[in-house]
Assembly symmetry: C3
Homo-oligomer: 155 residues x 3
């Protein structure tokens, strides 16, 4: 069963933070949450590892995208990479959890995290490049969760 | 009746692809899907035709926006138009359907596509500039579909 | 009770317009609507007032963000601030309500507007800087509304 589904499509730090704050808030109060990571959202699940044997296009795609949740840009006030650093300072001052901590928290709270196989294939991600403990699936997997949930978001 | 509604507000190729992959995936498994195209999302429905008798502001708006689904920018790694071309190469290599094919597929699967009349008026789009076979409506039309569906997304 | 919830995360004029058009459309036909303003969405609620006694980081954040709904950028065709002015001309010509009017309309229609306390704290907003008549709350407040509503959007 599932109460809340979130499609995490965006690779923006602030949007992924919002996604994980809603997901962990819901899980903390006993709701069952399923997150489906597509396109740029997959970058939140990267573990930073480099993998051999990729083609040129896949290597380029991997190189152009941020290598994990600590390196994501901000959707606003990014200022050529200054923005996220500015926010991290604000967050530390305000004792707000940063994205990598929020992801670990979601994992501990049994938030289901599904990496979209089609997006992985398109962007050239292998399972070894993504964090352990996640699930893999496609649109059909997501739709089954969304059928049960009355609360579904695309972020 | 309706199971899934999607507001397609974004004009980004990757977000519209996500919208159509979810819509066609849902329709393929018998779910009834309604898509409501507002603002930049309308560009996905443009047929590329030019229309005479528009005012200056409307001509400018039409000229500044991409003339159909094959010419949309990407929300990330757009790189002055390089991004979409790069993705199209990746998609072809991975045998992922491109956006124009996904739209045709949605049409064949009876996904209801509604162009928002207010957005059309605002951006100066006429019916002759949008693909045939679509419906026209306003927020009230969308809300009636969303009332029935338990799965509603804004993309 | 609640029929529709909207998380207003974006600070883009066109996305906030879409949020308020859907919200006021729903409220006009008797649906109960709850809007939760997080991150950049909070800028829609700013009244333009300046507050003393802020720290440097908070002053910087406040200075970098638009001071209220009349000054928000556009998600597309922003063109260094030209875009919103161009849209406002189009809107006036087409007699479409501008964002500040839509917000007042939402208020008159009893649309519940909740400012996210955590985002306020993070971005350094005080209650005196936001419009009167709004509510304050956290993710838990939002989740309770979303539990009841079958129609939930993240914008």
């Amino acid at each position: 069963m599932c109460d809340l589904t979130i499609v995490a499509h965006s690779g923006d730090m602030d949007k992924l933070m919002a996604a994980f704050i809603i997901a962990t808030g819901a899980a903390a109060s006993g709701r069952r949450v399923s997150m489906f990571f597509t396109f740029w959202g997959l970058n939140a699940l990267r573990n930073g590892r480099r993998v051999k044997g990729k083609g040129l296009l896949e290597r380029l795609a991997g190189w152009m995208m941020p290598r994990g949740p600590a390196r994501l840009p901000s959707s606003r006030m990014n200022m050529f990479g200054m923005g996220p650093r500015f926010f991290k300072r604000l967050m530390r001052r305000k004792h707000v959890e940063e994205l990598p901590q929020l992801i670990t928290l979601a994992e501990e709270m049994d938030v289901k995290m599904i990496a979209c196989r089609m997006s992985m294939d398109l962007l050239g991600f292998r399972e070894e490049e993504l964090r352990t403990g996640i699930a893999y699936g496609g649109v059909a997997t997501y739709l089954l969760d969304a059928d049960q949930a009355g609360h579904n978001l695309f972020i």
